[in-house]
Symmetry: C2
Subunit: 484 residues, 2 copies
């Protein structure tokens, strides 16, 4: 890095120190560097900063990571690892084993401290949610009769809630009976149930690329292999590439989000949804459709779910109220299609039952009908926020930066100038109290090194504007200087 | 069976019919019998009845089960399968693959219909729980400030709840900091987290025998192998047999309930708990301790947890409020010992976060201090119920019946006269609207054929007394007639 020591970033200073220790032989080739966690405790810096420092040493060819055992001093200097470019063809499936560093960075984000500027995790500001109303209903539900909670809920979950969801399903273009639904602890539980019911360890799952980092953790948890399918920022999953992958690899299931995919915000056109469903049905492959953002189209429309084209139960549809109503209520659901029996059995082993009070309250709210009014307000708010965040990024990020143009949801995918490290940007941002999500955690193969995801779930404000300006300045300084 | 057709049991009639079809060649050797589910729908009888009928055909040597593919007509008649007797030595580990029949019987029980006499699933009557108070607190929590649910809970769960649990842990003889606890969705979620963090597919888990049927479903879900350790109805796990098993098999974890084990109600003496913990620690084996019944000693004492002897974090302690406060709130916890980091990461992949309103309400209730007063009442009630149920069983069950004498909890383990089928008893009981749990579901190897578990969670009443008398009559008729 060409800059003088005194204005070096914290992660650079740590990398420089270690580099010198290596140079003068205080750290010998093959020797193990301190674990990221220990280093961050010893230096009193964030885990992200240590990860960035170690990665810089990698780029300089001074250190190398070894799966599950940390970083080691390298024998000889090597070239910079180039930033991968989007392949037109899907790579071969790899067993998902999240790089310890990526896992640390995810953990850092999930455990974001209060006070940080919340551009990391994808959730909307409480003030945009009808929490007061929902909690008032919860209070009323709790006071009525004996009140909830006295017995384990039905294995499938609250019938009252399933009735309301079956009614809403019409808006997704799906005809569902209450008994074709299973309630879950948010989408996370639903996705785990779906994966556990459809797959066996070692199976191959086709994923969007980039994909939601939590999907990869679930695949890792279930011992699955991933095949990453190129995904268009506007139209989503590349179906030709998927078709090609289905021919070449024994894919058991496709896991994707046709509506406002996280992190790209892509919306798959209906005719492509139909093609996707036919494609998997023809091959007996399961389609696990995550529709948690489906209610959040910026233009106010409600795109249909791919499930609406399902004729033989090939699609397992996942939804939740965490993005639109109350993250802390953990109310989600799964329409398991032809895996219904397997899912109900898995639920009895994995969850047994969901809490009744929260499910009853959400059912009541849906029944009272205020939900759609709320959705209209919420859609307008996030559409506006997305636009303002986008403008701010355009104003303050370095030339050559690209930003996604989502049609729904509330995350932005930012591609920094080639060679700019998203991980270093996260590290430096955290030192300044700003949380963001680095690109590599959205890929099982650590791709998207020079990308970041920015959540726009909070109303735009001077504080947010300053934070984005700061991010832009850091990115500017991180960007490799152009050759004269 | 020696009895005349007209007074035959429903399951016998179905078995007889099929037997005749086989005899006259309408069903050929090697031919597959209709699936249990299809048969139960076609005949409009319970799944349990069909399972019992098929089992009777097995006993008569007319049919044989094949793993995962159902029952088939047998080529030649065979002898009765003898009822297994308790082995002193633990058998070799077997991959847990719950027999489809057993799985059906568990499902039947979990989906017990309203109106059934509730002697099947293990939970206490709502009237014995402080639901009104708990729900009043929930209502109050929901009304305060912005109210709960606006954000995802901390990965570890509500700090307020973990503080209260850490305070209570003193009563279990355990010193815990709030940050040494993770909240979970009841004990089920806690046990799955523990298994996922400690084991890999194919690992061997040592279990009590008989053991709680849900444990086996979890082992099956995680692709684990079970080794069943003989267990004493009074003192629990046979530690010599366990020691022997630890020598012979690569056991990764021991999963047991030292306090008031389900289904035996055994209470392991403290010095044995200490020996158990030393035994696993010496070998680096994990001890997953399920303490959900620990607060329910009939004599009012609170036995310490095996975890109280843990010096190196070998013990993962599981607890929940489902048996003592509110099954429908699904509030449980896990003290992961030295697996803490792994458990927190697994939670972020498997559950992400638990609901906040229910955790806050339980924390408030513990803080207000009414919980111990409630526990005193509850202990007296279930001790009394257990005694009355026991007397009723002694009065009306056939000679030779044995009943456990639990020191805590609220389930009774009933050993019927040799050769009496617990599965047939469940089937006939269900036809009369009485739910019980058949013995074989408490073993990975279908042992305990002539046992049943009876839950005493509901206050003794004439209705319960009649139900027990009916069970006794059925058992009497099912018992093989003694040779003159």
């Amino acid at each position: 890095m060409g800059r003088a020591k005194e204005d070096a970033f914290l992660y650079e200073k740590i990398a420089d120190e270690l580099g010198e220790m290596i140079a003068r032989g205080a750290l010998r080739p093959g020797e193990r560097l301190p674990s990221v966690r220990r280093m961050s405790e010893e230096r009193g810096v964030s885990v992200a900063t240590v990860v960035a420092a170690y990665q810089l040493l990698e780029h300089r060819g001074a250190a190398e990571p070894r799966p599950k055992s940390g970083h080691f001093v390298r024998a000889r200097a090597g070239a910079d690892t180039p930033v991968p470019t989007t392949a037109r063809r899907a790579p071969a499936p790899t067993r998902v084993s999240i790089h310890a560093d990526a896992d640390d960075l995810i953990q850092v984000m999930l455990q974001a401290r209060r006070g940080q500027v919340p551009l990391g995790c994808a959730y909307v500001a409480t003030e945009l949610l009808p929490l007061r109303k929902l909690n008032a209903i919860l209070a009323q539900v709790a006071r009525e009769g004996g009140g909830p909670g006295g017995e384990y809920a039905d294995l499938r979950g609250s019938l009252q809630l399933r009735r309301q969801l079956a009614r809403r399903a019409v808006r997704w273009g799906v005809a569902l009976e209450p008994d074709e639904l299973v309630t879950t602890l948010g989408a996370t539980d639903a996705l785990n149930l779906a994966l556990a019911s459809v797959t066996r360890p070692g199976d191959v799952i086709a994923l969007e690329s980039p994909t939601y980092f939590a999907f990869m953790r679930m695949l890792e948890h279930h011992g699955l292999r991933a095949i990453e399918i190129p995904t268009d920022p506007q139209t989503g999953l590349d179906l030709d590439a998927l078709d090609d992958a289905l021919r070449r690899a024994p894919v058991r299931a496709v896991l994707c989000s046709p509506n406002f995919q996280n992190p790209l915000g892509a919306r798959m056109p209906d005719e492509q949804k139909e093609r996707l469903v036919k494609m998997v049905a023809r091959r007996g492959v399961a389609l696990i459709e995550d529709d948690v953002y489906g209610d959040l189209a910026h233009d106010g429309s409600r795109p249909r779910a791919a499930k609406s084209f399902d004729r033989d139960g090939s699609v397992l549809l996942v939804g939740s109220m965490s993005k639109t109503l109350a993250p802390g209520y953990r109310v989600g659901w799964l329409a398991p299609g032809r895996w219904d029996e397997a899912v109900v059995r898995k639920k009895s082993a994995m969850t047994l039952a969901c809490p009744t009070p929260t499910e009853m309250a959400v059912a009541e709210l849906l029944d009272e009908g205020g939900y759609d009014r709320h959705l209209r307000r919420l859609r307008r708010a996030i559409a506006d926020q997305c636009a303002r965040y986008r403008e701010a990024i355009a104003r303050s990020f370095p030339e050559g930066t690209r930003v996604s143009r989502p049609q729904g949801g509330f995350v932005l995918w930012v591609e920094l100038p080639q060679g700019t490290s998203g991980i270093a940007l996260q590290a430096e941002a955290l030192e300044r109290g700003i949380a963001i999500a680095p690109g590599p955690i959205f890929s099982a193969r650590q791709r998207f090194q020079s990308c970041i995801r920015i959540s726009t779930g909070f109303p735009f404000s001077p504080r947010i504007e300053r934070a984005i300006a700061t991010l832009g300045k850091i990115a500017e300084e991180l960007a490799p200087k152009r050759a004269a």
